[in-house]
């Protein structure tokens, strides 16, 4: 369950509209490395994580990304608020205005609409966490490019710098979660459970375990101990 707080994580007060910048920044709203993709990716992956730290970090970073989504949406809104259609067209937002008007629509800087294909959820904790490490770095790189494009307006650069720094922290935490998962998967396991279904599952995954040292039945087998 989520609770809405009527405040931004970091304040945004943009004095001068600038639709040209909005056209670039919207990529962090609904682009391939944007906040929406990040949030939904982490919140989708958390269901399959084998250890408590990884579940918590995906849940909590996924939640913070929703706050960042709101921040990016706010930047786009304030950069285009009150701008006449002619100016929007001059800034390259004529097509956007036609289809979405003054709404903030999730799309990339090139105008490609958001797609669930951005949400990499592979069903493998190592692959997923590696994906997230890359995703945070890609988002950091995107923010750096946006900061280069927006450097004339400190009202825009400040929140972008904040968002960039958060990507760095998230990268760090995902790295720690990955090490935790790797340690857990490397542990020897003892199964003390007679449940038929569990045994069947263990049988089918035996070969997989020998290769990966990973047992997806962990949560089933240990359920009595929790």
């Amino acid at each position: 369950m989520w609770t809405y707080t009527k405040a931004l994580e970091y304040p945004i007060k943009i004095k001068c509209a600038n639709p040209r910048l909005a056209k670039f920044i919207i990529s962090q709203y609904g682009g391939p490395d944007g906040e929406l993709a990040a949030s939904l990716r982490y919140l989708s992956q958390r269901f399959g994580m084998p250890d408590q730290k990884a579940k918590a970090i995906l849940n909590d970073i996924g939640t913070e990304e929703l706050a960042h989504l709101e921040m990016v949406g706010t930047i786009v809104h304030q950069l285009t608020d009150g701008v006449c259609p002619e100016e929007l067209e001059k800034a390259g937002l004529g097509a956007y205005y036609t289809d979405h008007g003054v709404d903030v629509y999730p799309s990339s800087a090139a105008g490609v609409p958001f797609t669930a294909a951005y949400i990499a959820a592979k069903g493998d904790p190592i692959a997923n966490l590696q994906e997230n490490l890359a995703a945070e770095q890609k988002a950091r790189a995107t923010y750096e490019k946006l900061i280069n494009l927006c450097k004339d307006d400190p009202d825009v650069v400040e929140p972008l710098r904040f968002l960039r720094e958060r990507e760095v922290v998230h990268f760090q935490r995902f790295g720690e979660a990955l090490r935790g998962v790797q340690d857990k998967l490397a542990q020897k396991k003892f199964y003390m459970n007679n449940c038929k279904e569990d045994k069947k599952l263990l049988e089918c995954t035996k070969d997989f375990n020998m290769v990966n040292n990973y047992n997806p039945c962990d949560s089933l087998c240990n359920c009595n101990n929790r």
Binding site: T3, Y4, T5, K6, A7, L8, E9, Y10, P11, I12, K13, K53, A56, I57, D60, I61, E64, E70, G73, T74, H77, Q78, D81, V169, H170, R173, E176, A177, G180
Partner: protein, 107 residues
């Protein structure tokens, strides 16, 4: 400083939109919101850190300190300037009165 400023201002009750309410000084409101935001950010940051370092006593201690301070300040802020979440009790529905975070004039 913030405490001194807020002490004389508690007449602006959430359930009693008095005439002085609109005169509640915006700079006090901004300052309280900035402080609250700082606490909340610290809690988020410590929360992520504690997810991967759950045994760090110093971080846990800071988390306790900031959650207590945030709760206290958040209650005070909401009493004066209206709810930040729908979980704050109100006799009058002030949720609609204040600007939304994305709007100009937000705090």
């Amino acid at each position: 400083m913030l405490e001194e400023m807020t002490e004389n201002r508690t007449h602006c009750e959430c359930d009693c939109p008095c005439e002085n309410q609109c005169e509640c000084d915006n700079s006090l409101r901004s300052e309280m919101m900035m402080q609250l935001r700082a606490y909340k950010f610290s809690i988020i940051e410590l929360g992520l850190y504690l997810d991967t370092h759950p045994d760090d006593e110093k971080a846990l201690c800071l988390h306790r300190e900031y959650t207590n301070k945030a709760k206290e300040l958040s209650d005070k802020y909401q009493k004066m300037f209206g709810p930040l979440t729908i979980f704050y009790p109100c006799k009058k529905w002030r949720w609609l009165e204040e600007p939304w975070p994305w709007e100009r004039g937000n705090f």
